[in-house]
């Protein structure tokens, strides 16, 4: 074993201009505004965190029930309840400045103009490392997935946000499309610095006694280990379609899960539903990544990115890529 490998493997990554101390980011909608977990875990141990989705104004979100457990998963329809971007900037961001982690803001809008306006407010604030664009929430009537389900709308929103900030811009793509590569390319062409793949998978759980949906909103977004193979496949497709980095999301609960995304071509990953299950997940995944690198004689996490051995790899066109 060489000296370099005997030392702690390097976990730092660079994603579309974001420099992260490790590739683990807390996913939007599963980590509040970050401060809720202060004291329960060490926020400075995260590569980064993404805020709950923020509009200009506060929002009540969906009626209850909002969550239902499913096999290895969670179906939710929260509807982007939130305090609004100004309250976040004034009250939450200063508290987050105490931690050494990259803070990304998930921006939402009912209109392209609202996305741009929220981004301008975020751009003016201290302590923001990047902007994630929410064009994939399945639980709102306007905006959300309506923008993420049409490549022209995706392009329009990403362009508008691009013009509103010099921060890294990262659209979060929806899996509820026929070909995610089209959306990854539309994002890249519109000036995105990276893409996050994927948001939740549209689902429905039925209460058979009442013959009604379990969720008040009706349908919801499925997350958790149940969607991981779908997410790895879509992140892989996106990574093959664009030159900008891909951030993998979907059912990561341990180091092996994170490695699937990295090997499939993702430069970093986000951890979502697992935050609810175990706030200690980051320590476990980080230690597990380091162990993996040591076992494989590697000194840097970047050396596993995109190393998928896939001899029977279908040509991109066959996958719609």
């Amino acid at each position: 074993m060489t000296e370099a490998i005997a030392a702690a493997p390097r976990l730092a990554v660079e994603v579309g201009g974001l420099r992260l101390k490790n590739p683990l980011i807390a996913a939007s909608g599963t980590f509040g505004y970050g401060v809720e977990y202060a004291g329960i875990l060490d926020l400075s141990s995260l590569g980064g965190l993404v805020s709950k989705g923020l509009y200009l104004a506060p929002r009540d979100g969906c009626a209850t029930p909002r969550i239902v457990e499913t096999p290895s998963g969670l179906l939710n329809a929260i509807g982007l309840q939130g305090v609004g971007v100004r309250a976040f900037v004034e009250k939450v961001l200063p508290a987050l400045s105490a931690y050494d982690t990259a803070v990304l803001v998930n921006v939402c809008g009912d209109t392209v103009e609202e996305y741009a306006e929220v981004t301008r407010i975020v751009d003016q604030a201290e302590g923001v490392a990047g902007v994630e664009i929410n064009i994939s929430c399945p639980n709102v009537k306007k905006g959300g997935m309506a923008f993420g389900g049409d490549p022209r709308m995706t392009s329009e929103v990403v362009s508008a946000v691009r013009k509103a900030t010099r921060l890294p811009v990262i659209p979060k793509l929806s899996p509820n499309v026929a070909d995610i590569a089209v959306f990854a390319r539309a994002s890249e062409e519109a000036g995105a610095d990276a893409v996050s793949c994927i948001n939740t998978v549209l689902g429905l759980v039925v209460d058979v006694e009442a013959r009604r949906p379990r969720l008040a909103f009706g349908t919801g977004g499925l997350s958790g280990p149940a969607i991981r193979p779908i997410a790895v496949r879509m992140a892989w497709q996106a990574a093959r379609a664009v030159k900008i980095p891909v951030i993998g999301i979907g059912g990561i609960a341990c180091a092996t899960d994170a490695l699937e995304f990295l090997i499939a071509g993702c430069r970093a990953v986000q951890i979502g539903t697992a935050n609810f299950v175990d706030p200690g997940v980051y320590d476990r995944v980080r230690d597990g990544l380091a162990d993996y690198l040591r076992r494989h004689g590697l000194d840097d996490i970047n050396r596993v990115v995109g190393t998928l051995r896939y001899p029977g790899l279908p040509v991109a066109e066959e996958l719609g890529g």
Partner: protein
């Protein structure tokens, strides 16, 4: 205090009748800091299924032994997995969580209204009330006598307990709120109501309290994802004098105990 996330060791397991079980777990911070009405988010082992932890009221604490107890009714996969733990097994446990009950002003008798496993937070609450020189009386309702498993501890504390059952197999034959009404009709001194149980019972207690102009606190038990206010799954539609515009509050961080007047109950004006 900040809730502490760690593996709690199961110290002992005591099956009660039917689906009920008492679990004793070691978690020093929960044992030391918990107040009545607070809860833990807990899951048996680290298996993938079922995915989420479950919230449970803390029944009792033993700070010297660094243990606490939970009273469970096995209903689904989560409770079954917990009830199947053997001594020495681990459970992922975060706590103490949530806002506790607020004791009534001196001289006001606390009437604790429990439905089924809603008895859980009242053991610790009686200990707190008695320690502070207060008085308590428990009204404990269930479908049948077998659902009223936690009675002896109250007798041991000298707290009167009024059992009620839907089938008349024990105590008052009928709803638990009827027994509360009967007591109030015969009583003159000041009281405060506290309730934990099914939503319909909590709503009935809230109506009773409003009708008689009595203070009431209710402990709600919605589906909960995280326990720390991030998933926003457990929200309760509320309204208060301080915040007249109806809004959602998290049962996990701003509850589970709410002033009954501040909950906008389903079917009432302003309900969503």
């Amino acid at each position: 205090m900040t809730p502490i996330n760690k593996d709690a060791v199961l110290v002992s397991r005591q099956p009660l009748g039917g689906p009920y079980v008492l679990l004793t777990l070691r978690h020093a911070e929960v044992a030391r800091a918990s107040r009545a009405g607070q809860f833990v988010m807990i899951k048996a082992g680290t298996s993938a299924e079922p995915p989420l932890r479950r919230p449970f009221s803390i029944l009792t604490v033993d700070p010297a032994a660094e243990t606490f107890r939970l009273f469970l009714k096995t209903i689904g996969a989560g409770t079954r997995a917990l009830a199947a733990l053997a001594p020495g097994d681990l459970a992922q446990c975060l706590g103490p969580l949530g806002k506790p009950f607020t004791a009534p002003p001196p001289g006001r008798e606390a009437l604790l209204v429990a439905g089924g496993y809603g008895i859980a937070p009242f053991h610790l609450f009686c200990e707190e009330l008695l320690r502070a020189g207060g008085r308590a009386r428990v009204f404990y309702g269930g479908r049948t006598a077998a659902d009223l498993q936690v009675r002896e501890p109250f007798a041991a504390m000298g707290v009167p307990l009024v059992p009620t059952t839907d089938d008349g197999s024990l105590g008052h034959h009928g709803r638990v709120t009827e027994a509360v009404e009967q007591y109030l009709d015969a009583k003159t001194g000041p009281v405060a109501l506290y309730a934990c149980g099914p939503d319909a019972m909590l709503h009935a207690v809230a109506r009773l309290a409003a009708r008689r102009s009595l203070p009431a606190q209710v402990s709600l038990d919605p589906w909960m994802g995280c326990g720390v206010g991030t998933c926003l799954g457990c929200v309760v539609w509320t309204q208060s004098a301080a915040e007249p515009r109806a809004h959602y509050r998290c049962a996990c961080t701003e509850g589970p105990v709410f002033d009954a007047r501040e909950v906008v109950w389903p079917g009432e004006d302003g309900a969503r």
